[in-house]
Amino acid sequence: MHSPLDRRAFLAGAALLTVLPLASARATPEAMAAAIKEVVGAATVREGKVKLDLPPLVENGNTVPLTVSVESPMTPADHVKAIHVFNEKNPQPHVFSARLGPQNGKAVITTRIKLADSQKIIALAETSTGQFFSASADVIVTLAACIEDAT
């Protein structure tokens, strides 16, 4: 069962996802840092435990495979409870937020993302003991996410 406090904290990280974006808005490293702060609050974020797999060179930014894996025993006492991924150059700083628990066995998620430009991606893991770990990856995008219409 999720306590109201738990749910609120998780949704705080996901809240910005539902805000209607302005067409001219653009994420910046500052916006990404602000989005991370929304989730982390005053806690320190440590390096380690999180592995972010992204191809270093991407032919097309429309569909970039991404895997986040976090080292964790995934027991009721010590598990990853959320994974958040952020970007610094897309129009908005969020990529996704996922909620996990001991029932997952492994804190590994794979998905495919859009990248508007060559940029840094940050994956943040939140553990049940209240700690935050992160990893970052720099990706070079040769062709930015842009769709060619059927002509």
Partner: protein
């Protein structure tokens, strides 16, 4: 609710059969070979290749009766009977004198046998049926039919391939014969062998046909794309498939 488990009879998750089928002496490179590892993995994994969504849809449409005749494709064509069909298209149908590509053939069946409306170009239904048929030739070497009537159309295709067009005055051959393997705006220029069609092109975020890709090329060289039903497209495809003969099909391909 329909159970949507993968039930396409796929034996293995990573089906890289096409990589093995090309002989070592063949120096030709397919678009697959020019892609980065991450995209090759995306294509190889049938549980993650977005083109497989369309193959699954095509499989469902195959058994759906359509038209005034209320017939499904499956009523005449048993499942698995489409093996190696895609490898020998375009072809000239019986009692006809002009070649059709796979989409044209599907629509011929729709109108003549099912008495249904033809499916619109680049429509989800047409692409899904095409994907389903092409998928059944995966791993098969491209084998254009030896019909002598195809000769003049193949020549027309070759002429279009070598014709300089558009504001940039480029021909297909300028890039794909003379400069294949070199870089254009950071991307490797492929040799343009249509082994993976219909492809899930990341640029489109959708599945599309060779015709769509050819139109993109024409727009890319700042030429006016021929009308959708122009004979040039099928002629070009006949030429390109002949140029690629023997190379294994890898539909549905993923391409950047």
């Amino acid at each position: 609710m329909k159970i949507a488990q993968v039930a396409l009879g796929l034996a293995s998750v990573f089906a890289a059969t096409f990589a093995l089928a090309q002989g070592a002496a063949d120096k030709r490179r397919s678009g697959y070979q020019d892609m980065g590892e991450a995209l090759q993995k995306m294509q190889d994994d049938d549980t993650a290749n977005p083109g497989m969504l369309f193959v699954q849809l095509g499989e469902q449409l195959w058994s759906k009766p359509a038209g005034a005749a209320n017939k499904a494709c499956a009523d005449c064509h048993a499942s698995g009977s489409m093996k190696s069909v895609a490898a020998r298209y375009p072809a000239i149908p019986k009692d006809a004198d002009k070649p059709v590509d796979l989409e044209g053939r599907i629509n011929l069946c729709r109108t003549a046998n099912q008495q249904a409306e033809p499916l619109a170009p680049e429509s989800r239904e047409l692409l899904s049926l095409e994907a389903y048929v092409a998928f059944q030739s995966r791993g098969q070497p491209i084998a254009p039919p030896s019909d002598p009537r195809l000769g003049p159309f193949r020549e027309q295709g070759g002429e279009v391939y070598r014709r300089r067009q558009g504001q940039l005055n480029l021909s297909c051959a300028t890039c794909h014969d003379d400069n294949a393997g070199k870089k254009l705006a950071g991307v490797t220029i492929p040799e343009a062998h249509p082994t993976g069609y219909p492809i899930y092109r990341l640029e489109w975020q959708a599945l599309g046909s060779l015709r769509r890709r050819l139109r993109n090329c024409l727009v890319g060289i700042r030429a006016e794309a021929y009308p959708y039903d122009a004979s040039e497209y099928v002629a070009l495809e006949i030429y390109l498939m002949d140029r690629a003969k023997g190379m294994p099909l890898d539909a549905p391909g993923v391409r950047p």
